[in-house]
Amino acid sequence: MIRTPAVRTVLAFAVALVLAGCGREAPRTSGAATVRIGAASPLTGPQAHIGIDIRNGVALAIEDANAANVEIGGRKVQFELIAEDDEANPTKATTVAQKLVDSKVAGVVGHFNSGASIPASKIYSDAGIPQISPSSTNPKYTQQGFKTTFRVVAHDDQQGPTLGRFALDKLKARSIAVIDDSTAYGQGLADAFAATVKAGGAKVVAREHTTDKDTDFKAILTRIRGRKPDLVMFGGIDPQAGPMVKQMAELGIKAKFMGGDGMQTPNFIKLAGGASEGAMASIPGLPKETMPGGKAFLEKYKAKYKAEVELFAPMGYDAVMVFIDAMKRAGSTEPAKFLPELGKTRYQGVIGPIAFDGKGDLVNGPITIYVVKGGKWQALETVTPGAGGAKK
């Protein structure tokens, strides 16, 4: 009665250990070597559509690479995707990171959220596996001193100042209201923007906050109306930006409206209705349609997934290509060998030229400002950040 469970446990462990001994290395098919690439993003939950978008981008890249019969160090290599769901949850992200490390991936594309990328980066760093985030914009992600963290997206301290200079130089804004959605992304962007316009001599007449779940902005907008700004800048994403523009119109605020890449989506126009006309938003990179590889990528993506690219699929695609590029130059698929090459990347990707600085951040690339015209986002102009770069 008592001994049975104990005995059973011991037996189970013994069996488990034996199994572990022989079952660990699955026999590999000879010929082409298989290299695993991990992808980690929220595949379920409220942000799943963006996470799946990233995964699709990664999958497309792997498909293309396999079709191109890549040779690394004189050996044919096939790539295999291991996609994991981090549920946009920091705790889950570390579990998933450990899983990817367990399955011996050569590199990881992920995670989507900064809140997931940061805790996971520690695990990748401990394992010596390089990580390229397609979308995490929190500056802290690359400031932890890890050699394995990279990103192929402009971080908040890069996009914000560019937006700010655009507001100063092109829009001639002098009194500006700044709103953020109290998330790491929105607030980082808004803070960097506010710092730039202040330094440039404009006045930040109101600094307001909302949340990423709110839809009523009347109170803060009314307050802003009292300050009579000529520009309202919002750091946040489309579900807030849409109703916000609408309510601005209802309150009779005539100021221009602008934001970051989080609101440059078709959904923004749908949510804001007619009020969206004239709203501006930036996206890091050149306009995809005008890029050499961009149009082809969009078409390929649409043909395969029967859906429009949400946001970060091109970044996911490029991240894989950057890995492969570094592997080719190093002549090895061993993370330890190609990691030094990753830092020296000079790659022409779908999103534009990719190069990393010492921390693993994307070297200041161009940023394109879009405007809503006739119910559609249209590229207004491309701003190349000045030599000054990001402050802080």
Partner: protein, 307 residues
Amino acid sequence: MDIFLQQIVNGLVLGSIYALVALGYTMVYGILGLINFAHGDICMIGALTALTVAGALAAMGLPPPLVLALSAAAAVAVCCALGVSIERVAYRPLRRAPRLAPLITAIGVSILLQYSAALVWGKQYLSMPELVRPTEIAVGGVHLTDLQAFIFLLACAIMAGLLWFIRSTRAGRAMRATEQNRDVAGLMGVNVNHVIAITFLLGSAVGAIAGMMVVLYYGIGHYFMGFMLGLKAFTAAVLGGIGNVAGAMLGGLLLGVVESLATGYIGDLTGGVLGSNYRDVFAFLVLILVLVFRPSGLLGERVADRA
């Protein structure tokens, strides 16, 4: 000054929606002594139903007033069915169980509703078709749209109707009797189950309209929208004195105005230490303060039961 008036107007429109949702909480609480946690989510279902139906009908090219009426009818029908069946399946068997049990059940139902909605509608934000472009009315610096005025007036009409129903009809009298003492009301020939079902029916119907107002006003709906709405409305109900129908209306309007003014002026009042980022804190603070200092609320009378 016009900024101040504008904030009041903003608050009243927002508050009228809170008030409608609060009615559902307060009626159920009055009769069952149960916080129907799922009520906010019933409103959400109503909102999303209205949004979907309106989208489909508008695409067929029906005239906007008809679209509005039909989608409202659909939302009310769905919510009534939902409210009554939830009561029947989840709450009725626990009517005599200790307090904790129905409350936990209600939380469970709330989660179930949210994620069922996520299954049906997905988790992205859905946009309500713009049926009529709202016309702006500017009165001395205060901006208002005809839609806002409509929402406010409709809310007032519904509340007045409900008050009349409870005060003057036979069913209303049965409701009041059940509220005072369920067992004795039963002995007096009131069909208690029936009355409770009617309560849920009414609360859900009003909630459906409130939900529809939200999507109409903001143009956006989401499976999670019921949570905060429900919480704020519950606060409104407590503020007015839970169990008291007139109190819920007063509490709703008051909470809307308090929130608007607090968000608008907190930065100036505290010299920038606190800002509009604390907006959601105000509702909770009001709730805690009321419960601690005046648990019976503004218009509530009975204290012994609550505290």
